[in-house]
Amino acid sequence: MNLEEYRTLFLITTISLSLIVAAPALYKVFPSQDASEDFVELWLLGSDHMIQNYPVDVETDQTNTFYLGVNNRMGSPEHYKIAIKMRTPTQALSDESGVPSSLPVLNEYRVFLDNNDAWESTVTFQVKDVSENGETLSAGTIRINGLDFPVDASTNWDSEDKAYYFQLFFELWQYDTTVKDFVYTDQFVYIWLNVAAPLAAA
């Protein structure tokens, strides 16, 4: 090797060593961006914390339990609201995708989660003040986590499944700091309830 080639080698070595020594400062000034996708999970689990044994068949005044959970993978702390609503098969969830149901909120959860953090809560409910009139079943009240909410909902007999159906559904809303309000995430979970008609008085 001649002197020029040696000089080039020294130059390359100097630059490489300089970059290695400067790496900690460069990393702090230009931190790497997380390229993973941001998302949030919403789930409903049965009484034994599994995707089974959901309280589908319910009796009047019977206490039923399941688990509702949220996992935040948005890359930052987030504020969520979970709105609990109820509907019958004839009531639409919403008119179009991305739009929440216009049905009234019965109860709600407010959850603050750090990134990669999860929240889970027990949901207990009872269907109360149930009456049957012909092929229509009416439920006057639903108790959720100890509070009684008047619903005055009526549903017709499903002759195919031989059941009276109501649905409890849970909409996930996320606080948007730009809009300064909750925004519907277009995510919801639900459970269909086959409510037994009360036994006729003897």
Binding site: L3, Y6, R7, F10, T13, T14, L17, S18, V21, A22, A23, P24, A25, L26, K28, V29, S76, P77, H79, V105, L106, N107, E108, Y109, R110, V111, F112, L113, D114, D117, W119, L147, D148, F149, Y175, T177, K180
Partner: protein, 165 residues
């Protein structure tokens, strides 16, 4: 006639009492709704402060736990208000406000501390790395100088040997 007047007066009195009750109830409900909106705003302000503290590098896990307790109180307040239990709703609102005000204050303090610590850390790292780069360049330059001189001397002594022969 006197009985008729008395009856009319009693009816009017009852009507006035009922109207006032309705007005007072609506006013009370409006107050609770206003209180709920204010508390909603306070809780989101506290949440924003926690996010800023997190972005500054602070550990906010305790504050998030506190916010979740406040969130439970706020959700309970909303539910009770919907059911018409205004007084109970107000109690939960007050509980929520106490927590979120404290969380906001603590989050602001943590954010400022974290910012100062991060800035100091950055300065130390930049100065340290800068000094390291200078040392690397100096050592490499010195090494090159020594190497070149030795190479030059070796070449000169070989030339002298060749000339002697």
């Amino acid at each position: 006639m006197a009985v008729g007047s008395k009856l009319l007066f009693s009816s009017l009195l009852v009507l006035v009492i009922i109207s006032n009750s309705i007005v007072l109830t609506n006013a009370a409900n409006d107050n609770v709704t206003t209180l709920l909106n204010e508390t909603e705003e306070l809780s989101t302000t506290a949440y924003t402060a926690v996010v800023e503290a997190k972005q500054a590098g602070a550990n906010v896990s305790t504050l998030i736990d506190e916010l979740n307790i406040a969130g439970e109180y706020l959700a309970e307040a909303y539910a009770l208000n919907r059911l018409g239990f205004s007084e109970s709703a107000v109690n939960y609102v007050n509980l929520c406000q106490n927590i979120v005000n404290t969380v906001k204050q603590q989050a602001d303090e943590l954010r400022d501390e974290a910012k100062t610590s991060t800035e100091n850390d950055l300065m130390v790292t930049v100065i340290g790395s800068g000094a390291g780069v200078v040392v690397v360049i100096a050592v490499c330059s010195f090494s090159w100088h020594i190497f070149k001189r030795n190479k030059y001397r070796t070449r000169i002594s070989k030339k002298l040997e060749v000339n002697k022969r």
